[in-house]
C-alpha cells in the first residue's frame, strides 16, 4: 500500500532564513574543466514586475556530460570539485546571476512514459532549473539551453516544446560587462536568460 507524496507548499517570503546557508552562485571553482559561462537574468511576474523574493536552483552535468550522482553510469570523468548544484536568490530588482561551466552532452535515455525515437541520442547541453518564490505553491521546473549549439535541433526535450516557445529555454549571448571581462581575462561567455512567470513570452515550464 503506497502513501502519495507529501503536498507541496509555497516557500513563502522568508525562505532566506532557512535556505541562504547553501546560496552558491559560483558553481565551478578554478580547477574545474570547461568553458566558463556567466548566466544572468531577471524573474518577472505577469505584470512585468520584478520578483524580489525568488530563488532558483541549478542542477547540471560537468563539461564531460557527467552528473555527480551514482545513477549516471556513463564512463565520463567525475570531478570531485564540481557538484553541479547551485542556489541563487533574486535581488530587489528580480535579478539573478551565476557562473558555471557549460555542461557536456548527457545521455538521454528516457523513462517509460517517453515516446518517440530519440531515446538513444545524447541531450543537448542544458541546466535543469527549479524556480521558487512567494506565490508559487509548488516549484516550477524549466531548463536553460545554450545558443549557437547545433545539438539543440535534435534535443529530445526541446523537441517536445512547440517551436514558437522554444526560445524561452535558450539563453542569449550578451557582451560581458567590462569589469567581468577584465577580471577573467576574457575567458567568460556571458549569457542572458530570463524567467517570465506569466503572460507574453511566458517561459516554458515542465511537468516533472
Amino acid at each position: 500500500m503506497s502513501v502519495p507524496a507529501t503536498t507541496w507548499q509555497t516557500v513563502g517570503p522568508f525562505f532566506s532564513i532557512g535556505l541562504e546557508r547553501l546560496y552558491c552562485d559560483t558553481l565551478a571553482g578554478p580547477g574545474v574543466h570547461g568553458e566558463r559561462v556567466e548566466i544572468s537574468g531577471r524573474m518577472l511576474d505577469g505584470d512585468g514586475r520584478p520578483v524580489p523574493d525568488g530563488i532558483i536552483e541549478i542542477w547540471q552535468a560537468n563539461s564531460y556530460g557527467k552528473y555527480a550522482h551514482p545513477e549516471d553510469k556513463t564512463d565520463h570523468l567525475v570531478e570531485p570539485d564540481f557538484s553541479g548544484y547551485g542556489r541563487i536568490p533574486t535581488d530587489a530588482e528580480g535579478h539573478f546571476r551565476f557562473t558555471t561551466v557549460k555542461p557536456g552532452r548527457a545521455a538521454a535515455p528516457v523513462s517509460s512514459d517517453g515516446q518517440g525515437g530519440a531515446e538513444n541520442r545524447l541531450q543537448a547541453p542544458h541546466l535543469a532549473v527549479s524556480v521558487f518564490c512567494r506565490g508559487l505553491l509548488l516549484r516550477l521546473v524549466t531548463r536553460i539551453y545554450f545558443p549557437d549549439e547545433s545539438s539543440n535541433s535534435e534535443d529530445y526535450v526541446l523537441n517536445l516544446v512547440e517551436p514558437s516557445r522554444r526560445g524561452t529555454l535558450i539563453a542569449k549571448k550578451i557582451s560581458a560587462p567590462d569589469n567581468m571581462a577584465q577580471s577573467d581575462g576574457g575567458g567568460l561567455t556571458s549569457l542572458e536568460w530570463n524567467i517570465i512567470l506569466q503572460g507574453s513570452g511566458e517561459t516554458v515550464f515542465f511537468d516533472c
Binding site: P4, T7, Q9, G18, A68, V161
Partner: protein, 249 residues
C-alpha cells in the same frame, strides 16, 4: 536495436498537489504560469540530483534552541519523523532544511514587519541529514501564528517550512508542517490550496507522546513522503512482438 528505457519517478497522484493558480492565495494570481506545463519524460537529468555529505552539515543545527547564548522563549518541542518514498522505503542521508517564526510569530527577516518581538535567542533555521533509516529529529520552539495581508484579518496558522531533496532532481519537495487542532487551518488559503482532503491532513503533525520528554519538551511527529520510483520497465525490442495470450473462453 534495443531501446534504452529506465525507471523515472512517479507523477503525483491526482488532486494531491496544489494547482499553480489558487486565486484565494492572492500572490499566486500574477505569478502562476498560464500556459499548460509541458510533460517532461524523466531523463538522466531528472533521475540524478544533488547530494550533501556530512562535511556540509553543522551537527548542532538540528537544535534550534541552542544557537545563541540563552534559551529562546516559547514552548520547547521535538519535531521528528521519517522521510520515506511512496512505497514506504526510507530515504537515508538526505538533507532537510527547516525555517520558522519565533514563538511570537515573528521571522528574523527584514521584510517581516509584524509588530511582534524578535527573540535574540532564536533565529529559526535548522538543517540535518536523515539517518540510515530515513529518520530525523529537530529540537525547536513552537512557532506562533502571524498576520498577513492576503485578505481581511488573515492569519497564518503556526507552521514550520521544510525543504527536502531526496535522491533526484525529480524528488525535490518544499512543504509546510502544521500543528494539530489549529483553529486557523480551515481559513488558511495556503493550507487549503490542495483539493484532496487526506493530502491536506497529512501536512498536520501528530502529537507524539513517545517523543515527548518529561519535564522538558512536547513531541510532534511529521513523516514526509517523496515521489516513488516507477517500476523498472522491460527493455523493449522493436523487432520482437510480445506474445499475447487469449483470456477465457
Amino acid at each position: 536495436m534495443t531501446m534504452t528505457k529506465f525507471a523515472g519517478y512517479r507523477r503525483y497522484a491526482p488532486g494531491t498537489q496544489p494547482l499553480h493558480l489558487h486565486p484565494l492565495y492572492v500572490s499566486s494570481i500574477k505569478r502562476a504560469p498560464t500556459m499548460p506545463l509541458v510533460h517532461l519524460p524523466h531523463t538522466i537529468s531528472e533521475i540524478t540530483g544533488p547530494s550533501f555529505g556530512p562535511d556540509t552539515i553543522d551537527i548542532e543545527a538540528c537544535d534550534l534552541t541552542n544557537q545563541h547564548s540563552g534559551e529562546p522563549l516559547g514552548e520547547r518541542i521535538i519535531v521528528s519523523g521519517r522521510v520515506l518514498d511512496e512505497d514506504g522505503r526510507s530515504i537515508p542521508h538526505t538533507l532537510i532544511e527547516i525555517w520558522q517564526a519565533n514563538a511570537a510569530g515573528r521571522y528574523v527577516h527584514k521584510e517581516d514587519q509584524h509588530n511582534a518581538p524578535l527573540d535574540p535567542n532564536f533565529t529559526g533555521c535548522g538543517h540535518m541529514l536523515t539517518d540510515a533509516g530515513g529518520r530525523y529529529r529537530f529540537v525547536t520552539i513552537r512557532p506562533g501564528a502571524y498576520p498577513w495581508r492576503n485578505h481581511h484579518n488573515a492569519w497564518r496558522p503556526a507552521h514550520i517550512h521544510f525543504s527536502l531533496f531526496g535522491p533526484a532532481f525529480a524528488t525535490r519537495l518544499v512543504t509546510q508542517m502544521y500543528f494539530p487542532s489549529d483553529p486557523l487551518l480551515p481559513a488558511d488559503p495556503i493550507f487549503n490550496c490542495t483539493a484532496d482532503e487526506s493530502a491536506r491532513q497529512r501536512l498536520i503533525s501528530l502529537f507524539d507522546w513517545e517523543n515527548t520528554i518529561p519535564e522538558h519538551a512536547l513531541g510532534f511527529r511529521f513523516d514526509v513522503i517523496l515521489s516513488g520510483r516507477e517500476a523498472t520497465p522491460m527493455e523493449t525490442h522493436p523487432h520482437k512482438v510480445p506474445q499475447v495470450q487469449s483470456v477465457g473462453p
